[in-house]
Symmetry: C2
Subunit: 475 residues, 2 copies
C-alpha cells in the first residue's frame, strides 16, 4: 500500500485538505499530525467567547475529533512534527511518550501562524496573554469571570489546559486591562473587555488603528472606542510589562499604566519551524513559497493556510495574507489535487471585515496608496460618505466608501467600507468587482439593488465609483 | 438661440436628465413638462409613508420644485403633453388654462408607467386605490388614521390633492382591507396595513407571491405574512369590487370578502400615450424601443425610465424592467449625451429587493428557468440554505440562495436570496458577478469577507456556487 497523505496541522487548511481528500479517495490513507489538543476550531471566534457572546469553547469547533475520525481521517493529536526529510519522504514526530518517523506519499504543511509577543519584556508574566490559541481564550475568560460565576461546563473539559484555567479561575477579576496592539485582535479584544466593565487601555505603536482598513476606519473606530470610555493611545510602543510574577503594569516610554491583565496582539508570523531544515523555500514574506497548486519547491510537499503565501488577485505576486477562507479553500484544493484531481488553490484579495461595537469595517485588495505604488500602480483614491438606505427610511446611517484605482488602466485596485448599518457585507461587491478585473467605470455601471429599506437609489459603492471616475477623468 | 431640450415627465429619469444636462451645458435651456403637481419623488417610499415609518410626504421628495428651478431648469408643473410631432420638432401641451405647441431641439420622453386596475369592476369606487401616485398614498394614510389623529403637517399642503385627502380624513378608519396582487406593491402594502392592526387579506392570482423572486421567496414571505395573521390566498383572481358608492367587499369567484378598503397592485404598464401618434416605435414589451444611447427610432427623440425598454445584461436583448436606479442612470446618460458627451444608458440586470416584515428577498438576472429557456439557455439551478454568520455568533440566521447557470457555458444567469439577516444586500455580489460574465466556478473562487459577526467562512453565495458547480459537473 502507498504511503499516506500526511498533513501537519489540524486546523482550517489541514482538515479541509484531509476531508476533501477522503471524500475523493475514500480508500486511501490520510494522517493528520496536530501537536496540540485542539483541532478544527474557529480562531476568529475567540474574542466573542471571551466577551461571553459565545457560551462554550466547544461552540467554536467546526468538527469534533470524533467527527474527524468518523470521516476516516487518522487524526493524531499531541503529535508534534519536529522536522521533514523530503528526500526520505518522512517527517519526524514527537509525542509525550515516543519519537518516530512517519513516511508520507504526499505532505501538506499546514502549521499556521504564531502570535508575536516580542520584543516586549515581561510577556511571559502571569496575567499577560497572546490570543492565539483556545487555552489562552479559556484562561482569559476564567480570569475575567468572578470565581463564584465560573461555569465549568462552559470550559470544554476534554481539550482545555485545565491547570492554566484553574490558575485564573480562582483569582479576583482584573480591574484594568491593557491591550497592546490595535489590529484585528486588539480591537476585538477591547470590545470583549469592555463587556466586563473594566478600565481598558488600547496602546498602538502605529499612528492608526487597523492599518489595512485605511484612515477612515481608524478614525471611526477610535471615535467608537472613546465613546465607550476606552483609553486609546496611538504612536505608543509598549516596551515592557512589569510585575512581581504577575503583570502589574505596562510601560510605554516614561509612562507606567497599572493593569491586572495585558493582552498582546501585535501580530502573527508564519509557523515554519518544522520545515526549517528541509530545503523548503520561503518567500520574501517569510511564509512558505508555493505555486498555483500549493506545491512547494520540494516534490510532494505542499503548504497551505497561515504558514504559506498565496497569489494576490490584484498584483499577481505571492503575498502572505493569513485569512480563514483562503486557508480552507487552499486546503480543500490540495486535498483534491493529492487525490488525483489537480485543483488550483486560487488567489487572495485580502478581503476582511472587523467590528468595534456597532462600527463595521471591511477592506479588499490594495487600499494603501504606498502599497499600490510599490506594486507598480499609479493609485488614485477617493473616499465618500453616503447613506446606507434611502435617507427617509428608518435606520439609514452614514457609510464611508474608499475606492482605489490605477490611473493609467482605470482598473479597480481595492476598497474599504466603514459604517454601522450593514456596512461590512457590502465589501463583497467590491471584492467581486476586483476579481473580475473591473474598471471604475464598470463599477459605476453596476445594477445594484435599490429598495428604501436596503439601499438608496445610488448605493454608496456606486457613489464612490462615480466620484473616483470623476477624479480619473480630471487632467 | 437653439430650441430647448424638452423633457416630458418630472420624475427619476426626467429630472436626472435635466440636472445632468444643466451641469454639462449651463447656458442651454431645458424645459421639464410634468402633468401633475408632484415631481422628483421616491415612488418606492410610499408604502413606508402609508405605514407611518416615514413621517411626511415631503420626506419622499428628492428635490423640491424650488430646488429644481434653482438648478436653472424650466420646470412646468400641470403641463400635460398630449402629442409629439417629430417632423415639426414640437410637443402639444395642455394646461388648465391654455394649449400651446412647444418647440424642442431634443426631446426626452420620460412619462413613466401607470398602475393597471383592470379588468376589475368597481376599481373606481371610493375606498379602492392603486398605489401609483403621491395623492393616493396621502388618501390611504388619511383613511387609515383616526380623524382625531390626523396631522395636517404630515400631508404636504403645497402639492397634495387636498379634496381627496379630506374625503378620507373625516371617515372612520377601515377595519378590513383587501390587497389585490402579491407583487412588490402588494406585499409592501400588506406590511403597511398590518401596522394599523387591521384584518388584512392578500389575494394573488398566480400560485406564488413575488414571482420574479423565485419559489423560496414566495414560501418564506407567505410564512412570514401568515405568522402576522395576514390571510393569504393564492390562485385567487378578484373579479370585482362591490359596494354602494364605496368599496364594501371584494369578490373572487364564489367568495365575497367584506372590506372597507381595497388596494389594487396587479401591475403597471408603460405610459406611452403622448407618443402614440408620433411614429415612435414600441418594443415587443409595449415600452418604447431605444438604442444604447436611449434614442428612439425618431431623430432627436429619446426615452428613458419606466416607459422605455433597456438592454438586459444577461440576454443582451431589449426588455422592459421598470426600476428606479436604471431610470436615474439612463436619464443622467441622456442628459450628458444631449449636452454633447455621448454616454450609453447602460444595461439592466433586474436587480431588486423587497421585504415583508423581517423577511428580505432579493433577485438579479434570470431566476426563472422557463424564462432562461426562452432566452436560449439550458438552465441549471440550485437552492441552498446556509448561515448568515458563523453559526455560533448571535444573530446568525438561515439564508437561502438560488443560483441559475447555463449548462453549456457554465455562465451565471441569475440568482435570488431570501433571509432575515442582511440577506437582501448580498444580492449585489451576485449582480456584480453577473455583469462581469462570471462562470459559476469564478463565483466559487471569490475571496469574500469572512468574520464571525458578518459571514461564515463559506458565505452563503459561495456555498450555492459550490453546490451548483457540483450539479454542472454531474453528467
Amino acid at each position: 500500500m502507498a504511503d499516506p497523505f500526511v498533513i501537519v496541522g489540524g486546523d482550517a487548511a489541514g482538515l479541509s485538505a484531509a476531508s476533501k481528500f477522503k471524500r475523493e479517495a475514500p480508500d486511501r490513507e490520510v494522517v493528520v499530525l496536530e501537536r496540540g489538543r485542539w483541532v478544527s476550531y474557529a480562531h476568529c471566534g475567540m474574542p466573542y467567547y471571551v466577551k461571553g457572546e459565545v457560551e462554550s469553547l466547544s461552540d467554536l469547533l467546526s468538527l469534533s475529533p470524533a467527527e474527524i475520525v468518523e470521516r476516516g481521517i487518522d487524526l493524531r493529536r499531541g503529535h508534534e512534527v519536529t522536522g521533514v526529510d523530503p528526500d526520505a519522504k518522512t517527517v519526524r514526530v514527537r509525542t509525550d511518550s515516543e519519537r518516530y518517523d512517519q513516511a508520507y506519499g504526499d505532505l501538506l504543511v499546514a502549521t499556521g501562524a504564531r502570535a508575536v509577543d516580542g520584543p516586549i519584556d515581561g510577556a511571559d508574566l502571569e496575567g499577560a496573554f497572546t490570543m492565539h490559541d483556545m487555552d489562552a481564550a479559556a484562561a482569559v475568560r476564567a480570569f475575567l469571570t468572578p470565581p463564584a460565576e465560573i461555569d465549568p461546563d462552559a470550559v470544554d473539559g476534554e481539550y482545555v489546559d485545565r491547570d492554566r484555567v484553574e490558575t485564573y479561575a480562582t483569582r479576583e477579576p482584573p480591574e484594568a486591562v491593557a491591550v497592546v496592539g490595535g489590529g484585528y485582535v486588539g480591537v476585538e479584544m477591547v470590545e470583549a473587555f469592555e463587556a466586563y466593565d473594566l478600565d481598558v487601555h488600547l496602546l498602538q505603536r502605529p499612528d492608526r488603528l487597523l492599518p489595512p482598513f485605511g484612515e477612515t476606519a481608524s478614525e471611526r473606530v477610535i471615535e467608537t472606542l472613546r465613546e465607550r470610555g476606552v483609553r486609546v493611545r496611538l504612536g505608543t510602543a509598549v516596551d515592557e510589562i512589569v510585575g512581581d510574577g504577575r503583570a502589574e503594569a505596562v510601560v510605554a516610554g516614561d509612562e507606567r499604566i497599572p493593569v491586572d491583565l495585558a493582552l498582546i496582539g501585535i501580530g502573527i508570523r508564519p509557523n515554519t519551524g518544522p520545515i526549517e531544515d528541509a530545503g523548503v523555500e520561503l518567500g520574501d514574506s517569510g511564509a512558505i513559497a508555493v505555486d498555483d497548486y500549493g506545491r512547494t519547491n520540494r516534490e510532494h510537499v505542499y503548504a497551505a493556510g497561515d504558514c504559506a503565501e498565496m497569489c494576490h488577485a490584484v498584483t499577481g505576486e505571492p503575498e502572505w495574507v493569513p485569512l480563514g477562507l483562503t486557508a480552507n479553500r487552499a486546503g480543500r484544493a490540495i486535498g483534491a489535487t493529492v487525490a488525483g484531481d489537480p485543483t488550483p488553490v486560487g488567489e487572495i484579495a485580502g478581503t476582511a471585515a472587523v467590528k468595534a461595537f456597532e462600527t463595521e469595517c471591511a477592506r479588499t485588495g490594495i487600499v494603501d496608496r504606498d502599497r499600490a505604488r510599490e506594486a507598480g500602480f499609479d493609485p488614485v483614491s477617493e473616499t465618500i460618505t453616503a447613506s446606507s438606505r434611502s435617507g427617509y427610511y428608518p435606520g439609514a446611517a452614514e457609510t464611508a466608501v474608499t475606492l482605489v484605482a490605477d490611473r493609467e488602466t482605470e482598473r479597480l485596485l481595492g476598497g474599504a467600507i466603514v459604517g454601522t448599518d450593514r456596512a461590512a457585507i457590502r465589501i463583497d461587491t467590491i471584492a467581486t468587482a476586483l476579481e473580475a478585473g473591473m474598471t471604475v467605470a464598470d463599477v459605476e455601471r453596476l445594477d445594484l439593488a435599490y429598495a428604501p429599506p436596503f439601499s438608496p437609489v445610488w448605493d454608496p459603492v456606486l457613489v464612490a465609483a462615480k466620484v473616483l471616475n470623476g477624479s480619473l477623468d480630471a487632467p
